[in-house]
Amino acid sequence: MSRQNSTASQMDHQPLSREDLAKLVAADIAPGSYVNLGIGQPTKVSDHLTPEQRVTLHTENGMLGMGREAHGEDIDEELINAGKIPVTELPGASYFHHADSFAMMRGGHLDVCVLGAFQVSTGGDLANWSTGAPDAIPAVGGAMDLAIGAKEVFVMMSLFAKDGTPKIVADCSYPVTGLGCVSRVYTDHGVFLIEAQDGGPRLVLREAYGIAPEELVKRFDFPVVIAG
C-alpha cells in the first residue's frame, strides 16, 4: 500500500523494516537513559543500543541493569524479564521487589518507555491492552503502569491497520491504556511527535519513510504538521 502512494522522489526510500525501526528508536534514546522496553517489538530495540549509550534497562518484575536474552547454560529461571524470558544481569545491576519497581515507574524516574500499540490518539492516548472483544479473557499486566510510568513514552507500531486505516486516530476506538501519555510514535511510514502546546497537543510528522510527507499527511482526517 505504501509503495503505491510513494512519489517518484521517494522511490529510493522504502518503508522502515521492523529492524530499521528498532534501530531508529535505539538511536533516539539519549545517552545514560533508564529505559523500559515493552514486550514484543520494543524488545528488539535493545539489540541496537550501543555500549557508548550507557543505557540501563529496567524490567518491571524487579531489576535494573538487565542484559541480553539468556541462552543455553546462561538460562536461570529466577532471572527473567517482564515477558518471562530468561535474561542476563549486567555489572551495576540491582534487584528490588514489585512495589519498589512500580514505584520507580509511577514516580516518573524512567526516562523512556517503549511500547507497542493498537492505536494512539492525536492527544497521546494509548490503546494497547485490550481489543475490547466481548469474549476475550482480559489481561492487563503492567501495561497501564508503563503507559504513565516514564518521562517519555515512545510507541512502536505499523502505521496502518490491515484495512488500510491509520492507527493514529482522533479518538481511540479500542479500550484505552492511559490518557495523554504518548510523546512519540515510531512507525514503518513515519515518526510522529505529539507536542504539548497551548490549546492542546499537536501531531507533528518528523520524517516519512517510503512515502512523501505531503502524501502521508493526506492519509489522516485531522491535521498533521510536517516538521520543517
Binding site: G62, A99, R106
Partner: protein, 231 residues
C-alpha cells in the same frame, strides 16, 4: 515468632476454607510451587487467590482452579498461552476475576502491609479498569483511589531464612514476596535453605522475620536445617 515446620503440608495446614491467599511469584520465578501443591492436597476450598498470574499448564494454581477450589482471582495477567484451566473456569462463569494493573496490585498489597487506608494512583485513570472508582485531580494530574488488598495467608518463596525468620531472595524471584509477606495475617515461606541467626548480614535482610510466621525448608534434610531449628 517464626515457627519452623518440616513439610509443606504442615506449613499450609492453617489455611481455612474461604481464605484470601496471596500467592507469590511472577510466572514461575518465585512461585511457591510446593506450598501450592500442599494446599491442593489439603482440600481447602472457596479460596480468593491474589497473584500476578492465574496459573499455567497443569501445575500449582492452575490445578487449584481446575478443581474449582478457587472462587475468585485477583490478578493482573490471567491470560497466558497455557492458562487453559483459568480460561475454562472463567468462561464457564465459575470463577470471579478482579483484574488489577500490576503496579496497583503491588501497591495495594504494600498499602495493606503498611497500614495505609487508601491511596490515589495515576495508573488506570480514564480506563475501564477504573470504572466506578473515585477519582481526583491533584496538582493537575488525575488519580484513582485504590484500597488495600489484605491476605489471610501469604504463600511465598525465598532463598534463605535464618532462625528468626529473616529472608533473602534470589534475583527476579523476589518480585511480590516482600509485599505479600507484610500484607497477610499469616505468612508461610518455602526456602531452599535455613541458616543460623547471625549468618545473614543485617544490612542485606530483605524481609525481616517480623513478617514471617511459618517457614519450611524444602531441600531434603540438610544438617544446617536441623541446626538452625534447634538454635
Amino acid at each position: 515468632m517464626t515457627e519452623f515446620v518440616d513439610t509443606a503440608a504442615e506449613a499450609v495446614a492453617g489455611v481455612s476454607d474461604g481464605a484470601t491467599v496471596l500467592l507469590g511469584g511472577f510466572g514461575n520465578a518465585g512461585q511457591p510451587m510446593e506450598l501450592i501443591d500442599a494446599l491442593l492436597d489439603s482440600g481447602t476450598s472457596d479460596l480468593t487467590v491474589v497473584s500476578n498470574n492465574a496459573g499455567q499448564g497443569d501445575r500449582g494454581l492452575a490445578l487449584l482452579i481446575k478443581e474449582r477450589r478457587v472462587r475468585k482471582v485477583i490478578c493482573s495477567f490471567p491470560r497466558q498461552s497455557d492458562s487453559w484451566h483459568f480460561d475454562a473456569a472463567y468462561r464457564a462463569g465459575e470463577l470471579e476475576l478482579e483484574l488489577v494493573p500490576q503496579g496497583n496490585l503491588a501497591e495495594r498489597l504494600r498499602a495493606a502491609g503498611a497500614g495505609i487506608g487508601a491511596f490515589f494512583t495515576p495508573t488506570g485513570y480514564g480506563t475501564s479498569l477504573a470504572e466506578g472508582k473515585e477519582t481526583r485531580e491533584i496538582e493537575g494530574r488525575n488519580y484513582v483511589l485504590e484500597h488495600p488488598i489484605r491476605g489471610d495467608v501469604a504463600l511465598i518463596k525465598a532463598l534463605k531464612a535464618d532462625d528468626v525468620g529473616n529472608l533473602v531472595y534470589r534475583k527476579t524471584a523476589r518480585n511480590f514476596g516482600p509485599v505479600m509477606a507484610a500484607a497477610a495475617s499469616h505468612t508461610v515461606v518455602q526456602v531452599a535453605e535455613l541458616v543460623p541467626s547471625g549468618s545473614l548480614d543485617p544490612e542485606n535482610v530483605i524481609t525481616p522475620g517480623i513478617y514471617v510466621d511459618t517457614v519450611t525448608a524444602l531441600t531434603p534434610g540438610t544438617s544446617q536445617t536441623q541446626e538452625a531449628k534447634q538454635a
